[in-house]
Amino acid sequence: MTEIAAVAPAPIVGRSFWGDAWARLKSNKASMVSLYYLIFMAIICVFGPFFVPHQYTTIYPDYVRTPPSFSAYPKPEMIETALRDTVKRMRVDVEEWHQEGEQVYVTVTSSKEVDERNTRYIDRSDTFDNAKVESKSPDGLKMVLSATVKQQYFLFGTDNTGRDLLSRTLMGGRVSLAIGLLAGVVAVAIGVVYGATAGFAGGKIDEVMMRIVDVLYSLPFIFFVIMLVVFFGRNFVLMFLAVGAVLWLDMARIVRGQALSIRRQEYVQAAEALGVTRRGILQRHIVPNLLGVVVIYMTLLVPQVIILESFLSFLGLGVQEPMTSWGVLISAGAKNIGTANWLLLFPAFFLVSTLFALNFVGDGLRDALDPKDR
């Protein structure tokens, strides 16, 4: 070894565990694509609803169960029906109608004098806008009205009550992702604290704590969830805090196992031999070495929670109308597969692709963080 000046020289920075893991993850294409996809999905679900022209609650009675389309509604063949429906509400008869570009002109007749305020019926419809009286026969029994055809896009189609599926899907995503994250964090937090305590304390305390987990395990999981629904009723935030509080069991077991094995590692024994306090050992050795497992498990837990939420919503126990989630949408879709299969397909695609992406990210993280590779 060459002589080195005693003045502390600028040290070479090493590759930390997390730096290494990130480099590995970056080289894993499927995981990176999935990661970007998840980020994209989160962005469109959070901000998308502000840019979609339709509110997720708005009902368009003219557009019930409209199939998805890239071109604008109304379609040419729909104009006449819509027009006749609207005019019918004015209690007048259509004598003639024609279309010039965006404008439609309709000549209406009636046995009584036609009221000019009737144009509001046209404005109220989902198809037309800017209704004007063009001309009126002297006796007032005949009137020519004009209106613009409102151009509406329903890229994902509409649902049974005529609500835009795109905005509903994005809103649903917002709810599903938020719940997944929320309950995931709760579950991980409880699981880590519980498991690490049991694993680190060891002995009798560990035995008792794990016996409690065993008993909770043998209670049917769905029973728990339903009891929580019964208790918390319709408040889904509270409910998912509670669901998170149920899902911690796996995490606790995993963390305990890890904590036990880390505690047996020689570097922990070395710290004990140095006289490091229990707190120091927990802080500097156990927790940092647990993080990898926790991160991996978290990516597994989030999809689990999302599925659980969807499952509950599917059973009608989750989010309540008009608020929505992917589970609610899929449930509605499943009931309408005969007549409107897009109601199933779009939300299902969003849910499944997100689950896939989470899965790939989880796999990538596992590969990147698994110390076995070292």
Binding site: S218, P220, F223, M227, S310, A348, L351
Partner: protein, 307 residues
Amino acid sequence: MLLYVFRRLLTAIPTLFVIVTLAFFLIRVAPGGPFNQERGLSPEVKANLEAQFGLGDPLWLQYWHYLQNLLHGNFGPSYNLPDFTVGELFAKGLPISIQLGASALTLALLIGSTLGIIAALNQNKAADYAVIATATAGSTIPTFVIAPIIQLLFGLTWKLLPIGGWGDGALINKIGPVLTLALPQIAIVARLMRGSMIESLRSHHIRTARALGLSDWSIVVKHALRGALLPIVSYAGPAAAALLTGSIIVETIFAIPGVGRYFVDAALNRDYTLVMGTVVVIAIFTILFNLIVDILYAVVDPRVRYD
């Protein structure tokens, strides 16, 4: 071994007792009761009904009665399906759920294991990637998406299967539900089997077998597979318990009269006896299959001894 089984069954009693107790009081402290749903029962009728079922008694007394009845194998009457006892409901529905669950489990174990073994033997080759992709898809797509899609494709588009219904157990009615139940299990078993086979194939004694020039069949089936079975066995136990006690999703979507639907309905309607019955049945299945897992462990691995 017999002694061990006996001892395990004995220790199952306190576990069961704890579960029954927990469930009993949990459902009782939940707000509401079996007869105050929106049914417009007059207060007198309600009071009558409650008296008839002893719901007016102090809770501990009800608990005591319930335990006594349970010990005699009596689950009590269903509050919301008044023509039936809970026992009768299970006698009717459980065989159906078990049929579906057992078929799905068998399929899953056979197909899943085969796929997993194929993948492990062709690690990082096309066959492996194909299995991984299928398994990822199968385990990621939730049942409530698979089921309607099966209905959509096989029922509506191609008209190969009925959309739903039990049809008195006709084979064609079972295909959809069994497929839905089996697909995720196939995926999970395939993944598990692949992982544990790869690990098993890497172990030193497989290297020994290769160095001794043993046949591929002997290496894979006799030496690698047996060791790789343990994780599958420990997965299959709880999975069997869950599958055999019915799936609410599948039974709802395909309109199957099994027991999977009772739980949610009963809990929501505060049908106390039916909820308790379901809890007990699920717990018994779980305990039983955990025991079977432990016994199978000893069969597969001579190092495991229970005495």
